[in-house]
């Protein structure tokens, strides 16, 4: 196959995956463009919500970056007690839907002996809670980027200027990935109405929710979604452009010997204190507030029965979503590996999709399913549908991780394999897969937890009789005894901790076989 044909094939593959990703959102968008909505989109209220949303996105990105980048650096570069489990547990805030954390904070503010705590409210409250919740994204991005630095690079910079130099140069190398991850965090927060509802912040997500749920005006909601996506595209494209150039530069150095965490007396302590503090403020405090009622009226037995009923469905939805996201992300990453324009196009489109409210795709799929023949129900009305749509929604998260990993693959490996006549499957299994192992693990983990916390998609698409645990919590929390809701949340957290503990063993299955 000639060079030109290969290039076309790669673009076709990228285009195909992007079409699949856009597909679910199209039915509502197309119907929106084809009709005149009786209500104007650009009202004063909507204009104010755009402003609020932009501040929210920027705030969440900045907060998550300012905490995630330095913390990720410290955690990756320095050795401290219980390092690996503590790093894994940094993912915990992402596992809970934001409104649960908000209710946790709100509960705490009402308890007399914690009333000195500032009660989050308005835009600042949303930025605080959602920013803390999104810290894991830049944290893990930095962590992963740091692990691509070589031991010789770290040693050289330490010899040159001590640990100050190590931190400065590592930060410079990891910043592009962390910034892209923080952007992702900000984008994810735009379509989430949970925290803005509870803290009284009129964001675009609230406007869209109102159009969907109160006015039942799909056309208006569709137009608002398009505007939101347009804003995201406008604001993130320049940053992505620069970020990808940095990324390209950052992967030039080849890794020969992975850096080992360094036992620095002061910085190790700071790293330990940092991860503990973020864990404490980001998850322990709000979870404590959320679970306070369980202490007064524990209903562990009833909650355990619910967990048992929903466990398999939750695993199918979230695990399936993770699988879908990783497979499509790997396809995009490999196909776009030799073209920065293809990478930029993919990320820009996926970011815009991520900013869309999940209801857009979910209701779109429902509409398609209702007009589809019954023999296609396996695709449009089954647990596979939920997994597919959730996976496509969080495709950007997996794509960034996979692009970074694919960029670190040496072209000389494939050249050497071609020269020696090694078959593609053998090269894939023996060389490529082990080198993508850590990125696959991180992507699987992230998409699993993000998919679990996406209530809207699951709720709108789950087949009758199949309910995931987060949706179960969501459905009982309105009027169930607070003790039951709190017990459910506690068990959910326990499940997640067990999942993380299991995930910590996965890297052992993916040893780096290529030095």
């Amino acid at each position: 196959m000639g060079h030109g044909a290969k290039r076309i094939l790669r673009w076709v593959l990228v285009g195909a995956v992007l079409c699949v990703a856009i597909g679910p959102s199209l039915p509502l968008v197309v119907s929106t463009l084809g009709q005149e909505s009786p209500r104007p989109v650009w009202t004063d209220a909507f204009s104010r919500s755009v402003q609020t949303t932009l501040w929210l996105g920027v705030g969440v990105s900045v907060v998550s970056l300012l905490i995630g980048l330095p913390l990720g650096l410290l955690a990756a570069l320095y050795r401290f007690p219980a390092r690996w489990p503590l790093v894994l547990f940094q993912a915990l805030p992402l596992l809970l839907p934001s409104f649960l954390l908000c209710i946790g904070w709100s509960n705490l503010a009402a308890v007399t002996w914690t009333s000195w705590l500032p009660a989050p409210d308005g835009l600042a409250g949303c930025v605080f809670v959602m920013g803390l919740q999104m810290v894991p994204l830049p944290f893990f991005a930095t962590w992963a980027a740091c692990h691509n630095l070589t031991a010789s690079q770290i040693d050289a910079s330490r010899l040159h200027g001590g640990d100050k130099s190590v931190l400065r140069l590592s930060a410079r190398a990891c910043a592009p990935v962390a910034i892209v991850a923080a952007l992702l965090a900000g984008t994810l927060s735009l379509s989430d109405p949970g925290a803005p509802l509870i803290f009284g912040c009129r964001s675009m997500a609230i406007e869209i929710l109102t159009s969907f749920s109160a006015l039942f005006d799909y056309d208006l909601a569709g137009r608002q979604c398009l505007l939101l996506a347009g804003w995201v595209l406008l604001l993130t494209a320049p940053v992505l452009l620069v970020g990808l150039r940095w990324l390209a530069a950052a992967v030039l150095a080849r890794q020969t010997r992975p850096a080992v965490p360094y036992p620095h007396r002061a910085l190790s302590r700071i790293a330990l204190a940092g991860v503990l503090l973020v864990l404490f403020v980001g998850i322990v405090v709000p979870t404590f507030g959320l679970c306070l009622p369980a202490a007064q009226n524990p209903m562990i037995g009833r909650a355990a029965a619910k967990v048992g009923d929903t466990a398999s469905t939750t695993l199918i939805f979230t695990g399936g979503a993770a699988l879908v996201a990783v497979l499509f992300a790997a396809t995009v990453a490999l196909a776009a590996s030799e073209s920065s324009r293809a990478r930029l196009t993919s990320l820009a489109v996926l970011f815009a999709l991520l900013a869309m409210p999940p209801a857009l795709a979910a209701i779109g799929v429902s509409r398609v399913a209702t007009h589809s023949p019954q023999h296609l129900d396996w695709l449009t009305r089954s647990p596979l549908t939920v997994a597919l749509i959730l996976g496509l929604r969080f495709l950007p998260v997996a794509t960034i991780s996979m692009m970074r990993a694919v960029a670190s693959l040496s072209p000389s490996w494939t050249d050497a394999a071609r020269v020696h006549g090694v078959a593609a499957p053998r090269l894939f299994v023996r060389v490529i897969l082990p080198n993508l192992g850590s990125a696959i693990t991180v992507s699987l983990l992230l998409v699993t937890v993000l998919a679990a916390a996406d209530i809207t998609t699951t709720h709108l698409l789950q087949p009758p009789g199949a309910q995931s645990l987060p949706v179960a919590i969501f459905t009982v929390m309105a009027n169930s005894p607070e003790g039951l809701v709190a017990s459910l949340c506690l068990l959910y957290l326990l499940c997640v901790v067990l999942l993380l503990a299991a995930a910590s063993q996965i890297p052992r299955l993916w040893p780096r076989r290529v030095a």
Partner: protein
């Protein structure tokens, strides 16, 4: 070489999708699938319910035991935080997955009627139910009810200062201490529509403006109103009887009053059940509706944690029932059949604007 790798990578997802899809298509629980049709023949009914799961589930279990028909319940989430089941029903209209929609209020059921989602069904089990709460065309039938009440914190509001009217939310003694859920959503939206019918447009608008002037706070849901009043953040709030009952059962320091007993009366909000047009298990759907409309179900809902008030006057209330019966209440005079129209009229105009401008 990379192209071959790509081909290999592409093959994996499609193989996985095919495998999972095929395995589900033969699953008997796959709704809408061929397996689902087999289930419907042997007794399944799919019920979408906006009634809180904790209250709906026991009734469904009892139905399963009594009839042998399996119930696949899809409960709704707390109303304002997701786009909810009504949207799902509308989206699925051409080939529905649901047989029955069990709504916590008649407005959502009326919306489904206006969107052509529901079908008329005249149930013999509805005998004895007062028909002024139901649709004249039998698209939805009402039974057990909740009421809109004012919940207050007993630690903050002494007995002699407790509110008696919804206008007390705008009273100076509760300045900055009153709250209500977002009136664009849930039962609060129904209450708003009812106030527009009972008070007239101008008076209703004045009332909402007075809430703003008195610093009343909009919260995300009725559950949030209950929680924040119970923990003392707010002194009073507008919510539903089932919310209040949960707080009382948990020993929270709350009391409640039926507002405007000497004036426009208290809003009664019955459940409504509708048959989904073209549902996959139509006959079982009718059986489920018949079951819900029995006097025994009203009695069971009265005994439940929701403590719902039977619409039938001859249903015996359980001992210690915390609320009055519907017959004992001075009910607000509203036309339930047109509440959805009123809501549609005010949602996109006054209410949206009011919420937008509310601090």
């Amino acid at each position: 070489m990379k192209c071959r790798l790509l081909t290999l990578f592409l093959a994996i997802p499609f193989a996985a999708v095919g495998t999972l899809g095929c395995s589900r298509s033969s699953s008997p629980s796959g709704p809408g699938s061929s397996g689902s049709n087999e289930m419907s023949a042997s007794g399944t009914v799919v019920v979408y319910s906006s009634v809180d799961e904790v209250f709906a589930q026991p009734i469904c279990k009892q139905f399963e035991q009594d009839t042998g028909i399996a119930v696949e319940l899809v409960p709704d989430t707390e109303e304002t935080k997701s786009t909810g089941l009504v949207n799902r029903l509308i989206a699925e209209k051409e080939r529905p997955r649901a047989d029955v929609f069990w709504s916590g209020d008649p407005v959502r059921a009326a919306i489904l009627k206006s969107k052509g989602v529901s079908a008329p069904y005249r149930s013999a089990a509805a005998d004895g139910l007062p028909m002024e709460f139901s649709d004249a065309d039998h698209h939805w039938i009402s039974f057990s009810a909740r009421a809109r009440v004012i919940v207050y914190n007993k630690d903050l509001v002494p007995d002699d200062k407790k509110p008696t009217s919804i206008h007390d939310l705008a009273d100076a003694r509760f300045k900055g201490k009153a709250c209500l859920a977002n009136p664009l959503f849930g039962t609060t939206s129904m209450h708003a529509a009812a106030l527009f019918q009972a008070l007239g447009d101008e008076e209703a608008k004045k009332f909402f403006q007075s809430l703003v002037d008195n610093g009343a706070k909009i919260l995300s849901s009725n559950g949030e109103v209950r929680r924040r009043v119970a923990n003392g953040e707010y002194a009073i709030g507008l919510t539903d009887t089932d919310d209040v009952n949960v707080a009382i059962q948990e020993g929270k320091p709350v009391g409640f009053v039926y507002p405007d007993a000497d004036g426009i009366g208290t809003l009664v909000m019955p459940n409504a059940v509708a048959l989904v047009a073209g549902g996959p298990n139509n006959e079982n759907g009718k059986k489920f509706i018949d079951y819900l409309l029995r006097a025994e179900t009203e009695a069971a809902l009265a005994r439940s944690e929701a403590a719902q008030m039977p619409l039938r006057s001859n249903v015996v209330l359980p001992d210690g029932f915390p609320f009055k019966s519907v017959a004992q209440l001075k009910a607000m005079s509203v036309d339930y059949a047109t509440l959805a129209d009123t809501l549609e009229k005010i949602s996109g105009t006054f209410l949206k604007q009011w919420v937008d401008e509310h601090p």
